[in-house]
Symmetry: C2
Subunit: 342 residues, 2 copies
């Protein structure tokens, strides 16, 4: 398999990207990497070229570029070239730590939607910090600012296949993010989505889930409209970071006694930090397009880049995309037949 890598995206690119790619290359012997970016810069950090091809380009998309314009105008940007390689079947997936909006636009406009899918959604993986272990997927976590109930139904199916093929959960529990647990709760969109999910015999639908309970093993896949999903994701991240900062500060400000206490607790608190570290679950994946389009955080280190490439490897190996294509082409055909017979 081949993974197209935007080597220039991210705060510490291309250094951290190259480090992560080399780590993944050493682990996955069946995988080649196409690195798009400034050759001289990439070579500064590259130790070994085995199964790594550099495709030189000077152009790149900046973090403050307007996404759609950037994709259309910067035709030779590292991200655009990487996406085009996927479109032209020269690579099986694209990875970037760069501008999220631009990568979503590249996914939609260059890689392209799978037939039958209206609105691809962004899937994030979060640790279930309310429980002993485990994680859950949230989608759409921000690809769309507005969604209809039928989109949420498609997210449930996309999330189900992701959880099965990548996380190896046999029968993933699907929940609907809502402002109450009762079936009649919520907006028009969530009320309609509840019906669609409840009536679909292929889904293990466990009902509405409130944001207060999302970290407590309530479901394996939580479906939301992109606006709310994004807000909840950011609220969780912001709160976790604020509290960890407070804990640290409480230790530092508490005099000698507290500092000794902090030292004695160092390893436990480190374990806690690791538990909350999302990087082991890889990046955010745009689901519903013809290949994995995967975004890691701009501040990703080499380890996070490696984990995300590993996640992409699992997606390709698990044949997630062919599963999507099959399902939605059948759905598409079935709904066409249905329309014709009416």
């Amino acid at each position: 398999m081949k993974i197209a890598v935007d080597a220039m995206g991210g705060d510490n690119a291309p250094q951290t990207v190259v480090a992560g790619v080399e780590h993944a290359r050493d682990e996955f012997e069946d995988t080649e990497f196409l690195l798009y970016g400034v050759e001289k810069e990439i070579r500064k950090y590259l130790k070994n070229e085995t199964r790594i091809t550099i495709i030189h380009t000077d152009e790149m998309i900046m973090m403050n570029d307007e996404p759609v314009k950037a994709i259309r105008r910067k035709k030779n940007a590292s991200m655009v070239l990487a996406a085009r390689a996927v479109k032209e079947h020269k690579a099986d997936a694209i990875f970037s730590c760069g501008n999220t909006g631009a990568l979503l636009a590249a996914g939609l406009l260059i890689v392209g939607r799978i037939k039958g899918i209206s609105r691809p959604g962004l899937l994030s993986t979060l640790p279930m910090i309310g429980t002993e272990e485990g994680a859950f997927n949230l989608l759409d976590s921000g690809a769309n600012a507005e969604n209809k109930a039928e989109h949420l139904h498609q997210y449930a199916i996309l999330g189900k296949y992701y959880a099965q093929n990548v996380r190896h959960i046999e029968n993933p529990r699907i929940g609907l993010l809502n402002n109450g647990t009762e079936p009649h709760k919520g907006s028009k969109v969530t009320q309609e989505a509840y019906q669609l999910l409840a009536e679909d015999p292929n889904l293990n639908f466990v009902g509405n889930i409130e944001a207060s309970n999302i970290l407590n093993d309530a479901a394996d896949v939580v479906v939301a409209d992109g606006f709310t999903g994004n807000a909840v994701l950011k609220a969780i991240e912001g709160t976790a970071s604020a509290i960890m900062h407070l804990v640290k500060k409480a230790i530092l400000d508490s005099g000698l006694k507290g500092k000794i206490g902090g030292l004695l607790l160092k390893s436990s608190l480190k374990g806690l930090k690791e538990k909350m570290n999302q990087s082991q679950y890889g990046g955010a994946v745009l689901l519903g397009v013809k290949a994995p389009v995967v975004k890691a955080h701009g501040s990703s280190d080499g380890q996070t880049v490696y984990y995300t490439l590993k996640q992409i490897h699992t997606m390709i190996e698990g044949e997630m995309i062919p599963d999507f294509v099959n399902y939605f082409s059948q759905e598409h055909a079935a709904s066409k037949t249905k329309e014709q017979s009416i």
Copy 2:
């Protein structure tokens, strides 16, 4: 002033309610309390009847009652009688720890909307745990499942007066909860709301605020549609509680060394817990109705009930409601004149 109290709402009612009322009664010599509920039960805990009147009723609204039905059918429920006392000007505000949906319905259907306000919103106060100190208000935090841009504009005005009259912030910064900071970001509703807020010369509008930054002193009042506001509020509460649980567990599971560390840190961690404790800010307030309708958490202790009654006292003393009425009646008249002149 007089406060109507639903003595039967909450997990430990009427005990905790009575304790909080007596504490508030001892502090605020200008205030009388009307307690609605089972007289025998209330008397069990009441130490001193000064400025406290008990109005006996056997009926009450349960936590799982369907809100609107309960308000309409249980005409003698403690909550309904307390709301009716406000409607009939026998009291200036209503307090309850009971069924939130029912209290919102009582506010809308019995106390009634202020003229010119389309959709009253629920205001919550949260600590800015990302900073040294301070708090912010979030509204609508869940009274509505759907909102239009003009409702969000009204929430900004309601929130502004609340922050001025109750929190004594001279020129409160108003932010709009959105999925990006740039003005063009978001859904149709948030894009339109951005324009309305930016164009209002009476508002100190500071722009879009992402949920990741909401705890970091980004604004004094954050305006949101009720669906997203509710989801973000619950995500913050759920994450905070999950992490504090993890910190506790990390200490307990870390052997003797960690336990000693935990003991040494006990007072610092207690300070942290207090910082995150929302009860000192009082309860959630339905704004846009003709009197303060205030909800404290079902699990509130006497101290929280006291803080919430203190908050109500400040609202009445600060003449928040007359300010609302003035503003919106002028707005209403102005928009009528404008309509006629077109």
